[in-house]
């Protein structure tokens, strides 16, 4: 993966830059020792690594502002980092960058149940936002599978989703306001605990901008009352097409499950071997979860059962109790771990129109066979967000390249059928060079304008999202 040539002026000024950072941060918040900076050399896209020039761990908005002002003056690129769980390389450093980690900013600032919001520092983990309000009957809805570790800052940067967004939406639909520190150190309040922005919806474009427009230090998040209960069913089919049709029929019938998860045979087998959840050995498996009171759940599941049985499933499994419900989810929740057990894998994230599901699965099967790498599919079927897992051997020369090429072809296929490159992981460096597949030059140019306005010197996370060739003149300016 090509990265920009580090700025030698910055590299040679390391001592001065670090000394200046030490004037505005406590000693333990500036890391420049080569061995220690290695802890920040990659995120969850571990195939690519590069230790940064230095890393800083501020505790307040004022400290973030002071750091950014110095980096702005010194023309040092800054790569913001939440918890470093990006699968797209969103927090991958360059050798001339300062990593700005928000992990120490993890407090709850305000909880307001009457107005249903919580204000937190952005380094707080996703799950601990829910943790702060759970005992009072509330939760924060977006639930990326890394929610135990991932930070709200990263969720906002990538506009993270999760298994339950069919009903609750993704981060942007649950974000009310942010404190944004601009690259020159200016602190702005955007949005707040009210609905509708003043003027343009800047919050909407900040969310999902992959840390390129500013550093979010605080966020006001919408919290929701917890549903009375939730219950999954498991439905097995002997064909992907039929499973896809079943999803479509459920949606058309007016039932809105909170989650519809889909696993194909390679994935079912791997999960079964790993987690022994007792899944049927079939071609396609759906896990459908609905919410409400026990009576409401019964009513919705009865309707789903009628629809599913019309498609002759090989199995329709209901959960009689909490334990059986857990077993239904067990395999799905361990899918990534199961894959990691048997192989190295690359996780894709394209989204497709739900109607193209059977075609896309068939094509992925053909492409996988042609290249000789197995692909297991697990995804959010209700919204078309696919997660094909390409299995490869990192120790085998050429396998990573083969895998990346297959991944790129699968993403091109997603765009071809009317979908997109990434549904919830973000572009990062991973899909940067495919942006031209989805966007015409004018479409990209309009996005670059936004970056020009927010970060005229192009210092914030500059090597991400857009092909380097497209941004070269701006980064050099």
């Amino acid at each position: 993966m090509e990265m920009p040539v580090p700025d030698t002026m910055v590299l040679s000024a390391k001592a001065r830059i670090v000394a200046r950072l030490r004037t505005v941060l406590p000693a333990d918040a500036v890391i420049d020792d080569v061995a220690e900076t290695r802890a920040y050399e990659c995120d969850a896209l571990t195939a690519y690594r590069c230790p940064p020039l230095a890393a800083v761990l501020p505790r307040t908005t004022a400290e973030v502002s002071a750091v950014l002002r110095i980096c702005h003056e010194e023309s040092v690129p800054v790569v913001p980092r939440g918890s470093g769980t990006s699968l797209a390389g969103g927090a991958l450093p360059t050798a001339d960058c300062v990593i700005l980690g928000v992990a120490r900013m993890n407090g709850v600032i305000e909880t307001d149940y009457d107005n249903r919001y919580i204000r937190v520092q952005s380094g707080r983990t996703n799950l601990s936002v829910t943790g702060a309000v759970e005992s009072d009957g509330f939760f924060y809805a977006p639930d990326p599978s890394s929610q135990l570790a991932c930070a709200i800052a990263g969720n906002i940067a990538m506009n993270s989703g999760g298994a339950h967004c069919l009903k609750y939406g993704v981060t942007t639909n649950n974000l009310l306001g942010v404190t944004l520190v601009q690259m020159d150190g200016t602190v702005l309040e955007i949005g707040g605990p009210y609905m509708d922005p003043v003027g343009l919806d800047l919050l909407g474009v900040i969310c999902g901008s992959e840390g390129q427009l500013g550093v979010v230090t605080e966020a006001t998040l919408r919290i929701l009352p917890k549903p009375e209960g939730a219950r999954p069913v498991l439905v097995g089919f002997d064909s992907n097409e039929v499973a896809g049709q079943c999803v479509s029929d459920i949606i058309k019938a007016g039932v809105l499950p909170v989650a519809i998860e889909f696993m194909d045979r390679p994935c079912i087998r791997a999960c079964e071997a790993f987690a022994k959840a007792g899944y049927p050995d079939c071609e396609a498996l759906l896990i459908i979860e609905v919410e409400g009171s026990p009576a409401e759940i019964d009513e919705q599941l009865a309707l789903i059962k009628v629809i599913a049985l019309r498609h002759n499933p090989v199995e329709f499994r209901e959960a009689a109790d909490e334990d059986q419900a857990k077993r239904i989810w067990l395999g799905r929740k361990s899918a990534f771990g199961a894959m990691g057990q048997i192989n190295d894998y690359m996780c894709l994230d394209g989204t497709i129109p739900v109607s193209s599901l059977p075609y896309v699965l068939r094509r992925i099967g053909e492409m996988s066979k042609a290249v000789g790498l197995d692909v297991a599919n697990v995804f959010h079927a209700g919204d078309g967000n696919m997660h094909p897992l390409i299995l490869f051997d990192a120790n085998k020369p050429g396998d990573l390249e083969l895998c990346e090429a297959l991944g790129a072809d699968i993403l091109r296929l997603c765009v071809e059928v009317g979908g997109c490159l990434t549904g919830e992981h973000g572009v990062g460096i991973e899909k940067r060079d495919l942006m031209g597949v989805q966007f015409a030059p004018d479409d990209l140019e309009a996005q670059l304008w936004v970056k020009d306005v927010f970060d005229p010197k192009w210092l914030l996370n500059p090597a991400k999202v857009f092909p380097l060739s497209v941004t070269a003149s701006r980064r050099a300016a």
């Binding site: 917890k226 949606i251 009513e299 979908g419």
Partner: protein
């Protein structure tokens, strides 16, 4: 000017020599700006409707009524409950999808499903230089590049002229019911609405119409609506009697601000933190108010020419004058934010010809 294709729209804008006033159906425009009128009604037609994928793609000039009828035939709808502003603003004509998006028009259901921008998944538009730009697409989950879709929603035609819009849809529920708390003060009403919205019973409308009552809406499968209605009645017992009215017919009146239709005066739309609402209303000196979104939206009727913003003072939120004369329909932005929005406008509309001066300029 009434282009009938996106290419023609781009030509018109590219060759424009002066300011343009962008106009969909003209049913919900706010404020005033001058220039040659550019009507988008010719950019009409549904390009794609997949009920099984809850997705609609249509030309920006497509009639809202036509789309609503098409969706209703499949038992689906636009989630965000588009208000009909014709009665309030004294307009006629057909609302267009593009106008709905440009205004980010959202009704009572916003408390549950979000605003228009939350259901908008893709746009095509022509910027102020005449360049066609697309963003988003037709899928529900999409984080590929910057989200200009959100930026276009509620930009009132000042960044570009929409040519095509895509929405995610929701099924129309089988049943609905309205709970009415007849005699609450404004402060009690906001508390009752907060209690209802903070319950697990999926309230998707919470409005207070002083003199008429406090209204809560629930929708879903028949048995579920009955169950939740009963639970809510119990949950809100501390606020006095809770009457149950079958159906949801009353919500069109709230959505369209019917109580102000026959009355003269300026109309303001004030977005606030819900619990602040009663105290702000006391400061407003309004002739009438209607609370929606659990108190988060205040519709206020004031004497013509009143400076409501001056009366409100420092405010967590903002006020837009929806009806009334003179400049300043949109609230001024804080300085740092204004610099960003002016920067964006200069990029998207370098000649400053699109609805020039309408918002924050």
């Amino acid at each position: 000017m009434q282009p009938t294709s996106e290419a023609e729209l781009a030509d018109f804008i590219r060759s424009a020599t002066g300011p343009l006033v962008v106009r969909g159906g003209g049913t919900r425009s706010v404020g005033a700006c001058r220039g040659a009128v550019l009507e988008t009604g010719g950019l009409s037609g549904v390009a794609l409707y997949e009920p099984g994928a809850l997705t609609l793609v249509a030309g920006a000039g497509t009639s809202l009524a036509e789309v609503e009828a098409l969706l209703a035939a499949e038992g689906q709808r636009l989630p965000f409950e588009v208000p009909d502003m014709r009665g309030l603003l004294g307009r006629t004509g057909d609302s267009t999808l593009g106008g709905v998006v440009a205004a980010n028009a959202s009704g009572p259901r916003r408390v549950q499903v979000g605003a228009c921008r939350d259901s908008l998944i893709g746009v095509r538009f022509v910027d102020g230089a005449g360049t066609v730009i697309k963003n988003g697409g037709r899928v529900m989950k999409n984080v590929t590049g910057y989200d200009l879709v959100k930026l276009m929603a509620g930009s009132w035609g000042t960044l570009g002229v929409l040519s095509e819009v895509s929405f995610k849809l929701l099924p129309v529920p089988e049943a609905g019911a309205t709970l009415i708390l007849p005699d609450l003060s404004d402060a009690q009403a906001v508390q009752a609405m907060a209690a209802a919205l903070g319950s697990p019973f999926e309230v998707n409308g919470a409005a207070h119409w002083p003199g008429q009552g406090t209204f809560l809406r629930i929708e879903g499968f028949t048995a579920s609506v009955a169950y939740r209605a009963a639970q809510l009645q119990r949950h809100l017992a501390a606020f006095g009697a809770v009457e149950l009215e079958p159906g949801t017919a009353r919500w069109a009146e709230i959505r369209d601000v019917v109580p102000f239709h026959a009355r003269a005066g300026d109309v303001w739309r004030v977005a606030v933190k819900p619990s602040d609402a009663p105290e702000l209303v006391a400061r407003m000196g309004a002739e009438a108010v209607l609370y929606d979104w659990g108190g988060g939206l205040i519709w206020a009727l004031t004497a013509p020419g009143s400076d409501l913003r001056a009366r409100l003072g420092v405010l967590v939120g903002h006020a837009t004058r929806i009806r009334g004369d003179g400049p300043g329909a949109f609230a001024p932005e804080p300085p740092g934010v204004a610099a960003l929005t002016q920067g964006l406008r200069a990029k998207f509309d370098p000649r400053g010809i699109l609805n020039s001066g309408l918002m924050g300029a």
